[in-house]
């Protein structure tokens, strides 16, 4: 408690280790509490703390990090290895996202690193084991983006099955004047198979139920729901019209959708990926789509973003999005506030808002 009072009253002074000495100074008249002197705010105190932002991810977040901390922008450094060795002593936090996080090498290069705050719910770009070993805290942005990602999953399903994007192109090209667009398959009532029934998977299920879609899933363990559980992804795919990837990317789930799963989904089946590109064997996926062995796909993520296999560009049964799962004004602001809130909590010695490690 003395530490807290001291931080508020005399942050500019070194606190004596003995509590009675500290108390004596606090109650003495040697401290001036002039009304004209501003009590240093937590924000002002933090502007000496070095925060390394790994890539551009959000203007508001970047501006706030710049305002509240000493911000280093990793992507602007022409010689990154040199930069790290020069600034290693100042950097106490890393802000990463789905594109760039904190690898073991980076963590090792920053001996004063205390926290990695991710602007994403996915943690696949953070070496969690190394963070654990070194006592580095890790936070992410769960819950605030669940709705957006689930909304987009349903939007992709409708866009692929009902050919909404193709219809829009049809009209804009003037083709409607020549004839009606062909029939497209109904969405309501289709069997949805969800890989990963976490927050996002459940949110997708809840929405799909309103379209009278029967729901089944595969997960590491059976959940307490009424949805049908399949212990293998191949079985799930065999019994689904639409297969959605909604699990975390780990070594175990890398290429969880492979040739066997794609074959099980089949020429009338549709794959929706709102997880991570590496969840899918992308080469197999492209071949299956081009050859007509898979009915369609709605993809928000790819193995090597921003590269998208060009063979997909000419296909009508595919919708391609530039990783916009959480890409709304509302959600990105909420995610940014969560990153900022976690950093401020950590550096104020308060409980983290959304800790992972």
């Amino acid at each position: 408690m003395i530490a807290t009072i001291w931080r508020r009253a005399a942050p500019h002074l070194s606190r004596p280790s003995h509590p009675r000495a500290a108390l004596a100074i606090l109650t003495s008249h040697t401290l001036t509490f002039s009304t004209t002197t501003q009590t240093p705010s937590p924000a002002a105190k933090m502007d000496a703390i070095g925060v390394l932002m790994m890539c551009p991810m959000n203007t508001y977040l970047e501006q706030e990090l710049d305002r509240r901390f000493k911000l280093f922008r990793y992507w602007t450094q022409p010689k990154q290895a040199e930069f790290l060795s020069q600034q290693a002593e100042s950097i106490r936090a890393v802000v990463g996202n789905a594109t760039a996080g904190a690898s073991a090498d980076l963590i090792d290069a920053l001996p004063r690193l205390e926290i990695v705050s991710c602007f994403s719910v996915g943690l696949d770009k953070v070496d969690l084991a190394r963070c654990g070993e070194k006592g580095v805290r890790v936070t992410n942005t769960p819950d605030v983006l669940t709705d957006d990602v689930a909304d987009l999953a349903i939007g992709l399903m409708l866009a692929v099955l009902r050919r909404i994007c193709v219809c829009d192109k049809y009209v804009r090209s003037g083709a409607w004047k020549l004839g009606d667009f062909k029939l497209t398959t109904k969405f309501s009532g289709k069997r949805i198979g969800i890989i990963g029934l976490g927050r996002i998977g459940l949110a997708i299920a809840q929405r799909a139920e309103a379209f009278d879609c029967p729901i089944s899933y595969h997960s590491r363990s059976k959940k307490a729901t009424n949805y049908t559980y399949y212990s293998s992804v191949v079985e799930l795919a065999s019994n689904s019209d639409i297969l959605v990837i909604a699990c975390a990317l780990t070594p175990e789930t890398t290429r969880i959708v492979n040739r066997e799963v794609i074959d099980a989904l089949g020429p009338k089946g549709v794959l929706i990926n709102i997880g991570r590109g590496p969840h899918v064997d992308e080469a197999e996926l492209v071949a299956a789509l081009v050859e007509g062995r898979l009915g369609g796909a709605g993809l928000d993520v790819f193995e090597k973003e921003p590269e998208v296999p060009e063979q997909l560009f000419g296909l009508e049964n595919v919708v391609l999005l530039p990783h916009v799962g959480s890409g709304t004004e509302e959600t990105r602001k909420a995610m940014a506030d969560l990153v900022l809130g976690n950093l401020e909590a950590h550096f104020s010695s308060k409980p983290l808002l959304t800790p992972v490690v």
Partner: protein, 326 residues
């Protein structure tokens, strides 16, 4: 007379030249089909058509008083559309005709489509797909931000078969639902607003799915759209004429409303070119009902209703003509 034992019952086919249903051959095998567009025409078309009691009207083929005059023995018209705005309802009422329409046959598909259009507009699905296919992602690095769908306020114009399904779907997104209708409906948990402008002023997503009548023509006018505002979007899966299209285009171009998902237009297949440049607009060629499932459902309903009429059985999806009284 429905037809004696030798002659199958008489059925008039009323359709536009390029609008056919897959069940036409089946109908010709079961009934004496009188199609004025047949070439050569049925040898006894003229006398037989005067005795025909039933007409199948496929597509939005206008059923005018003049058409009805040509078939004086008509008692019933089986329609294939969700709407009946192409019927002269006064003329039908005067002749005490029974009319059936598509009923619920298309409702799921249209509701699905309305939701799909709304998500596309707010989350820029079509625009972002174009961005990727143009090869712009590696160049521009980031696509712009869209607007969240979940939790938004949905205002439904017309809470009928389609509107109620739209409501159920959006509820699962955590959206609040309000509606306007000619009359407030009992036992409905959604907020009722007396008119479209009030509804629009309390909505982020305005879904138009009501019937087109003389009273609802241009229901969505400048005032309603201004009430909806800069961040509001319109989805129209009803009829083009429900919306003042000229005003809509102007407001979209000026950014006075936030976006639109349009499956219908005032003069289909003509679509105002000014809309082509807008990324917050999704355009569709009157496609919401075009699934094999909906087409199968309407085929089944039509066959069932024709059969029921000739067997004096109850009809399904019968239109209550008095609901269209002003």
């Amino acid at each position: 007379m429905a037809g004696d034992e030798e002659t199958p019952p008489l059925l008039i086919l009323h359709h536009l030249p390029n609008f056919k249903l897959s069940i036409f051959p089946l109908l010709r095998s079961k009934y004496t089909v009188l199609d004025p567009l047949d070439d050569p025409p049925h040898p006894s078309f003229h006398p037989l058509s005067k005795a025909a009691r039933l007409m199948l009207c496929t597509g939005p083929t206008p059923v005018t008083a003049a058409v009805l005059d040509a078939y004086p023995a008509l008692e019933c018209i089986v329609g294939s559309s969700a709407g009946v705005n192409h019927f002269d309802l006064d003329a039908c009422r005067r002749r005490r005709l029974r009319i059936t329409c598509a009923g619920d046959s298309f409702s799921d598909d249209v509701a699905d489509y309305a939701v799909g259009l709304a998500i596309d507009v707010l989350r820029r699905v079509s625009a972002a797909d174009r961005f990727v296919r143009a090869g712009s992602w590696p160049v521009m690095r980031e696509y712009g931000l869209g607007s969240k769908v979940s939790g938004k306020r949905v205002g439904i114009v017309g809470l009928g078969s389609i509107g109620s399904r739209v409501a159920k779907r959006f509820e699962s997104f955590g959206c609040t639902i309000a509606y306007t209708s000619t009359k407030q409906k009992p036992n409905i948990p959604y907020t009722f607003h007396a008119n479209a402008a009030l509804l629009a002023s309390n909505a982020d997503i305005l879904v138009v799915c009501c019937a087109l009548t003389d009273e609802t023509r241009h229901l969505i006018n400048v005032d309603v759209m201004a009430a909806l505002g800069k961040s509001g979007i319109i989805v129209n899966v009803g009829r083009g004429a429900l919306v003042d299209e000229k005003a809509l285009v102007e407001m979209l171009v000026k950014g006075e409303i936030g976006g639109a998902g349009l499956d219908v237009f005032e003069r289909e297949p003509h679509v105002p070119r000014e809309l082509f440049a807008l990324d917050n607009v999704v355009l569709s060629p009157h496609h919401a009902v075009l699934t094999p499932e909906s087409m199968g459902a309407i085929d089944d309903l039509i066959l069932a209703n024709i059969e029921a009429f000739f067997s004096n059985q109850p009809l399904r999806a019968e239109v209550q003509l008095d609901q269209f009284d002003s």
